[in-house]
């Protein structure tokens, strides 16, 4: 059943732009996962996921930013309160000037979670109403969750 769902989602997203938007679609621990590049991840696609009668992914549970040394990824975990199904959306973005379309206009739950990713990983979210640091000081240098971040133990008083 979940495989069918995966095919349906892939088709619907590809139909939006009439091209191969989804670079990879697979099952990840029994749940559908689609992977697409950041420039293809638009508000239209997210809106379709939210509003399409068969999908209705209205509950954005979790947003994760991951730094894979060669590129960065933002993973969205969707849940549908109507149809009770799940979806991973993986958005890949280059490591230099990482940028992913913000879902804040559609899902308010993205507000804080995207701010946190911006704060800790330095991924830009164009379209976010208030993209500021949330956990660290406003004048903090660098983004700690990046793999090349060097912890300045002296400055933090740990050494």
């Amino acid at each position: 059943m979940n495989e069918e769902l995966l095919d349906m989602i892939t088709n619907k997203i590809n139909q939006l732009t009439d091209e191969e938007t989804v670079t990879e679609a697979k099952m990840n621990f029994h749940k559908p996962m689609i992977i697409l590049p950041a420039d293809k991840w638009t508000l239209t696609a997210a809106k379709m996921l939210r509003d399409d009668e068969d999908l209705r992914f209205d509950f954005l549970t979790c947003i994760t930013g991951v730094d894979y040394e060669e590129h960065m990824e933002v993973v969205y975990n969707f849940y549908s309160t109507v149809h009770d199904h799940y979806l991973y959306v993986k958005v890949t973005t280059p490591r230099e000037e990482p940028s992913v379309q913000s879902l804040d206009p559609l899902f308010k739950s993205a507000d804080y979670m995207e701010r946190e990713i911006y704060d800790l990983l330095g991924i830009d979210f164009p379209g976010h109403w208030n993209l500021r640091r949330i956990m660290l000081d406003d004048d903090w240098e660098g983004h700690p969750l990046r793999k090349d971040y060097i912890t300045d133990k002296k400055a933090m008083g740990l050494d």
Binding site: N28, F29, D58, F59, L60, T61, C62, T64, G65, V66, D67, Y68, V75, N77, Y79, T81, D84, Y86, Y88, F107, K108, S109, D111, Y112, M113, E116, L120, R133, I134, M135, L136, D137, P144, L145
Partner: protein, 370 residues
Amino acid sequence: MSDLKTETMTLNMGPQHPSTHGVFRLQLEVDGETIVRATPVMGYLHRGSEKLAEGFLYSQFIPYTDRLDYMNAMTNNYVYCAAIEELFDWEIPERAEYLRVITMELNRVASHLVWWGTYLLDIGAMSPFLYAFRDRETILDRLNEISGARMTFNYHRIGGVKWDAPEGWIEQVLETVKELRENIQEFHTLVTGNEIFQSRTIGVGKLTKEQVINWGLSGPIARASGVDIDVRKTEPYSVYDQFDFNVPTREEGDVYARYLVRIDEMFESLKIVEQACNNIPDGEIIHKKGKKLMMLKPPEGEVYTRAEASKGEIGVYAVSNGKNKPHRIKLRRPSFVNVAILQDLLEGDSIQNLVSIFGSLDVVLGEVDG
């Protein structure tokens, strides 16, 4: 007279304020006692758990999850362990899962008790706090007996639990459940029917179903607004599918509804504990590979695992690169997501309601700041 200008005042509530339950700051713009704008400011307790995780062995991170939502540490333990177990694709011994469920549900009751006490303290009733702590104390005693700690349990392990239940513990838990049931019933007589209490809660801080879903709220807050999501039912983890329990929901979406949902949830949790204690099987308490703490190397992959904590849906997004340290651990902290609604919810309300509304969200700052 119409051009008489009134000025708004900026009021910094916190980071040190008795009702923010920790180091949380609300920047309020108030016109008299009416809130024009509320901006939550956080991060005062940020310890960088996610960053720390990348430097530890898999087993070493468990104690750090305790310190997220320190009121409900068992579920935090569990969800982290469960995520790693899912990466391994392990079968967990039944007895271990039962012990996990018992400890998690007892801890949920303890967490709700603390909420009940502190919430009423927020709206000015002091006695319930002490009643709640009396009952919480018995739960903590039980958890102490099995885990050796009162708050930061560090009890669950990847693949099972650390200790088996001591002799006679199960019977004691059953006793405690009986006692708690009577005492929680007493709460209704103490508070629920009180006129002042009702006038302060009914119709205050209303959240609609749409708001809840759009803001990603979960836990009792969502269920009080008629959004019936409880991970224990929608995606049963551990052995929750073996128990008979209800998920209390209400439609009103106000503070009073959240209050009732939490009280009802305590009874449901006690029900689960009772069933689990009566049906607990004998056997191993940990997967045999889980005992080798230093050798844990999950295969490459990534997974999002969720569980129902007392505050809402807690999730762990674990990315493994096949080495002995995690590549990335993302913690979806329910309080952090839930607290965002404050900006929307407080606008136009009064300072007097603020405390009531903020208290009803039941946030723990350890979890908000991660």
